[in-house]
Symmetry: C2
């Protein structure tokens, strides 16, 4: 009924296609061969599902993705994802939560390294921006885009939980932006500036193409140039 996704494993167990229905020569044991006793891999399959879901949710949207698609992507049958996740929505939430936790972690690491240099607001902002581009556009980064573009499909409770994580992530930016604003290098209301800046960055998901065009470094440079006022020339000091 479903021999879909003849990915690698067990590919070609028979002439395949419809053959299954016509004649099943010898009985093969139900289910897949069990691992030898005591050997379990629960966590792994769960992770596989999350990764596959992230990729599919990003490409086709939550509503445009079938739990069967996800199952097929990891070589499972249609009902099996529900052994790991109690609902499709739970899978979506898992994708987003992992995306946020990874992003928060990576941001903290990047910032820690940068803080060893002499304090420089602009340099710190560049680190944050570069890191954000990495999280959005870097290799294997489908999680945050899903988080950004599919939250409509969350329950209210899930939305609240994720909003907290998002708050943690964005909180780091606040002192950096405030310092630059106080130094006159970011103009306008800081609150609106923050929203506009995040928009500029997050929208890159829509047009960025890793295979051509700018690199993430160039993107970060362009963003810095656009948002942060250039320092007045040194000659200004002369009164």
């Amino acid at each position: 009924m479903n021999p879909l996704a003849a990915r690698s494993r067990f590919a070609l167990q028979v002439p395949v296609t419809v053959a299954t229905k016509c004649a099943a020569p010898e009985k093969r044991p139900r289910g897949r061969p069990r691992k030898t006793a005591g050997e379990r891999d629960d966590g792994n399959r769960r992770v596989e599902l999350i990764n596959a879901a992230a990729k599919l949710f990003r490409k086709n949207g939550f509503d445009g993705t079938t739990t069967r698609d996800i199952a097929a992507a990891v070589g499972m049958h249609s009902g099996s994802p529900f052994y790991h996740f109690k609902s499709k929505g739970a899978l979506l939430y898992a994708v987003m939560e992992q995306g946020m936790r990874t992003a928060i972690l990576q941001q903290a690491l990047g910032l820690r390294a940068a803080e060893k240099s002499p304090p420089d607001g602009a340099a710190l902002l560049r680190v944050l921006i570069r890191n954000h581009f990495g999280v959005l556009l870097g290799p294997g980064s489908d999680f945050i885009p899903v988080m950004l573009y599919e939250s409509r499909s969350l329950t209210a409770r899930q939305r609240t939980l994720l909003a907290k994580l998002r708050g943690d992530y964005e909180a780091v930016w606040e002192p950096v932006l405030n310092a630059l604003h106080n130094a006159g290098r970011i103009k306008g209301q800081v609150k609106l500036a923050r929203l506009l800046i995040f928009g500029a960055l997050n929208w890159s998901v829509q047009w960025f193409d890793a295979k051509k065009g700018a690199s993430l470094e160039e993107l970060a440079d362009a963003a810095m140039a656009l948002f942060v006022q250039t320092l007045p020339p040194a000659t200004l000091k002369t009164p």
Copy 2:
């Protein structure tokens, strides 16, 4: 075929509501009463459907919206939208196309008015930005957000057609941005600056709340302050 901006025409033509369903005492002739001969209102119902679809597509997404939802929103039965549009996808395209045509028109009008003043790159950009916020966030503006966030559900052909309209809309920005870049008031690669700026604006759809917070004017001011370098103080002229 495209009577855009059908704001309030024909509002409240009947008491409407559910009454129809509850009890139909005497046989009423199939279908709704025909207009007297020669009087047709094809276009109107079509417009109603497009408006309802725009609202629902924006709120629930294309995949999250049912053709039955749309039918119900305009008081039709489930199969009737297909009398006006041959498919759900055709309705989506109609929403987006109307959105783009309206946006292009409004942009041209705004710009024409602004060009009567002495040429000033910054002033022109402010007009474009303010107008764009209007198109995105103004009253009755669900069309462009749908266009921005649901294009995944288009066919390749539809995508190409809309890309052309989008090109027309964005082409207007190019000389304005180039002029400001040449004047040193927009920094970084112009091409990237344009993408980042559009991102900052388009993302406002995600967070803007008309009932509280900033006005569209304040938004436009904030964007200008963020993107356009302030002119150096006049004292600079002294060598």
